[in-house]
Amino acid sequence: MQDPLQTALRIGASGLEAQSRRLRVVTENLANAQSTGKTPGSDPYTRKVVTFENELDEAMDANVVKVASIERHRSPYRLEHNPGHPAADQNGYVKMPNVDIMAEVADMHEANRSYEANLQVIKQAREMISMTIDMMRNG
């Protein structure tokens, strides 16, 4: 059986990991917001989204979080009229990625907020551990 404070640290760490993976995916989306295909009519970069799920860690008896999957977003691509573009189809339209910068930035802020909250919990659990250790010092 695990010490509950150690468990708290582990759970917090799983939260940090999940949120940083999310931030990584957001960065990927933002970086590829203008990535088109190379051949006429080909598909551009597709926006990715992370999904989270909670998992009961049997050994720790704790609800850790993990990234369930990184999926492609199903919204349609934007069409832009640009006949000279290598990826333009016969009507002169280029498929642009379905990345919405606003949504990505909002997602980034949420990931940031959740990351900070996890960090705060870890900090407090550490403090509690050191308070226990401090009891051994004769004051």
Binding site: M1, I11, S114, V121
Partner: protein, 126 residues
């Protein structure tokens, strides 16, 4: 000399607080998991009542070492402040307030235990 239960109460309370902290940690970690319902532990009074200081074994694993005792403290659904569209009922603000409470109580407990320990030592030295 009458038995001093203080150390017992303090350690049990700290045990309870530690379990609460790990529950808070799992709520915060799952703050963005769809369908996750926030958990909280039973109030300490209830845990204390059910164990009554004499530490009756009301559940399997009560009297064994530290960790097993913690498992006996049951988590239950907490009353949520908000529930988002995804069915997640974790409110980060609420969790951080709870974490602050836990921290403060833990500090108080360790402080009391230390002070009491000093008193016992003083009487032993005299």
């Amino acid at each position: 000399m009458t038995a001093i239960y203080l150390f017992n109460v303090v350690s049990r309370h700290n045990q309870w607080l530690a379990v609460r902290q790990s529950t808070i940690a799992s709520n915060v970690a799952n703050a963005n998991t769809p369908g996750y319902k926030a958990l909280d532990v039973d109030p300490f009074e209830k845990v204390l009542e059910s164990t009554r200081l004499a530490m009756q074994a009301t559940r399997l694993g009560h009297m064994i070492d530290g960790g097993a005792k913690a498992a006996a403290i049951e988590a239950r659904k907490s009353e949520p402040w908000e529930t988002s569209h995804s069915g997640n009922s974790v409110s980060l603000e609420q969790e951080l307030i709870n974490a602050g409470d836990v921290n403060r109580a833990y500090r108080l407990n360790t402080g009391i235990a230390k002070a009491f320990h000093r008193m016992l030592l003083a009487s032993a030295k005299a």
